[in-house]
């Protein structure tokens, strides 16, 4: 079972996505802020990370930076961003994010993107 860490401070949205992704057969680890997300990533070494950009304590950008630079992991990362955070999205891509979704988004679309990222076979 593929593992996903989901970092999102909106508990209702987290719960909705957890329900949807678990239905698709993924194992979900929920983080309510960036700090929790880093703990979960280091403990569970997930196959995919989904993170919001704006979060308490540690932002989504810091999570990406930590994963790519400090942990040196190439785990795919999907970023959520609200309208008006276009610059943040560019920063997220520069730091090593693989995909982004602007809020409000469709959970069904997220599932398609998750599947696509988790089924891509590396060329090497």
């Amino acid at each position: 079972m593929k593992k996903i860490v989901l970092a999102e401070d909106n508990t209702t949205l987290s719960l909705l996505l957890k329900f949807r992704l678990e239905k698709e057969g993924y194992e979900l680890f929920m983080a309510k802020d960036g700090k929790d997300a880093l703990d979960l990533i280091e403990t569970h070494e997930p196959d995919l990370i989904i993170t919001d950009i704006m979060m308490p304590f540690i932002s989504g950008l810091e999570v990406i930076s930590h994963v790519r630079i400090k942990l040196d992991m190439d785990t795919p990362i999907i970023v959520f961003s609200a309208a008006g955070q276009e610059e943040m999205v560019l920063k997220a891509f520069n730091l090593g994010a693989n995909d982004f979704m602007g809020k409000p988004f469709s959970p069904n679309e997220l599932v398609i993107r998750v599947k696509r990222l988790l089924t891509v076979i590396p060329i090497s």
Binding site: N10, T11, T12, L13, L15, L16, F19, R20, K23, A83, K103, P104, F105, S106, P107, N108
Partner: protein, 367 residues
């Protein structure tokens, strides 16, 4: 010896000042003890309330997710969804629980799109929450009305249009602002029709919020703004001028030209700025002809226009103001001359006699 006396005897024998001090100390001590107990009880209740609220929130979140995922493609309410609606309906009559349910629904509605957003709105109707928001509009207290309109805006309840639009000229600016945001958020440019009947001032902050709301929409096809440019409400005219500039309304240039003769100076200045943005060459000629009749601010603004729309034929006019007593006009005139006839501009340094003018030329040289 005094130590062996009973406390009351000791107290009675002590001087009046000491007695007063003792009484005051006892009263203060009692007050501190009572307040500490009160604080403890209050903290206990607040913590309990927070805990209960968190518990209710978790419960309602679970209901909401269950409701959303138990629906089918037909959109009809099934048995499970109906039981959830009934459970929520039972809670919405309690104010504190209603607040939690609304926040849970809104938190999610803001984050998801498509069918789910529609389902959440449907749930808002089915649980009867909409009736509470509509009831708020009938309140005599302005802040309750404003909150009600805000809620209807957040849940995109466009059916309340007639009930909300009657607050367009409400005496409280907060209610007016919420009404305007409701109309523009839900009906986009069509919602701006409230400007036709607006008799109260539209504050600068309200204008900014309306413009920000309008810019969020994908469809940026603006309606005819001419009636607002001709409005008797000055704040509406100023807002329409902002719209003309942001949405590049070249077709309203004639109406903008008429505003150059508006009785309000602020409107005349804004009209010059918008015409500058829209390359209003005709306005330039008109203003040039009436330059001496303009106020100083308008003259400065006109030179700003001239800087952008200058033609070689404007050189004789500009030359007249190269040594104008106003700093901004002189600076702009020198800059304009430098841009259209550099040779004549270079020759100025030899002909200037005053220290102020030669300093200005040196300044413009650096620009």
């Amino acid at each position: 010896m005094i130590d062996n006396l009973p406390l009351s005897a000791n107290f009675n024998e002590s001087p009046l000042l000491i007695q007063v001090a003792w009484i005051a100390s006892c009263v203060l001590l009692s007050v501190i003890i009572l307040l500490s107990i009160y604080l403890k009880i209050m903290r206990f209740h607040l913590r309990k309330k927070d805990k209960d609220n968190a518990q209710f929130k978790n419960e309602y979140e679970a209901y909401l997710i269950e409701y959303l995922y138990s629906g089918d493609t037909t959109g009809k309410i099934n048995e499970l969804q109906d039981s959830i609606i009934q459970k929520l309906k039972a809670s919405v009559s309690i104010k504190s629980k209603r607040k939690i349910i609304i926040s849970v629904l809104y938190n999610l509605m803001n984050e998801v799109s498509g069918e789910m957003s529609v389902s959440i709105k449907q749930l808002y109707y089915n649980t009867g929450l909409i009736n509470y928001a509509l009831k708020r509009l009938e309140s005599k207290r302005w802040h309750i009305i404003a909150k009600g309109i805000g809620e209807l805006t957040r849940f995109k309840i466009d059916e309340a249009h007639h009930k909300v639009s009657k607050f367009v000229n409400h005496p409280r600016s907060e209610v007016r602002k919420e009404t305007q945001l409701y109309l523009v958020s839900l009906f986009r440019f069509e919602g701006l029709s409230f400007l036709n009947n607006l008799t109260t001032p539209l504050s600068e902050w309200a204008q900014i919020q309306l413009l920000e709301t309008l810019q969020k929409f994908d469809d940026q096809q603006i309606c005819d703004i001419r009636p607002w440019l001709k409005s008797t409400n000055d704040s509406v005219v100023l807002f329409a001028l902002k719209l003309a500039q942001i949405y590049n309304q070249f077709e309203v240039q004639d109406t903008l030209m008429e505003l150059l003769a508006h009785p309000k100076k602020q409107i005349r200045i804004s009209a010059i700025q918008v015409l500058t943005h829209l390359y209003g060459v005709e306005a330039k000629e008109l203003l040039k002809a009436n330059f001496n009749d303009l106020s100083l601010e308008e003259q400065i603004c006109f030179f700003g226009m001239l800087e952008k729309l200058v033609m070689p034929s404007d050189e004789p006019f500009v030359e007249k103001y190269l040594f104008h007593k106003n700093f901004e006009i002189q600076l702009l005139a020198l800059k304009i001359l430098k841009s259209i006839n550099i040779d004549k501009y270079m020759g100025l340094s030899e002909t200037t006699t005053t220290e102020k003018d030669s300093s200005m030329i040196k300044l413009v040289n650096t620009l």
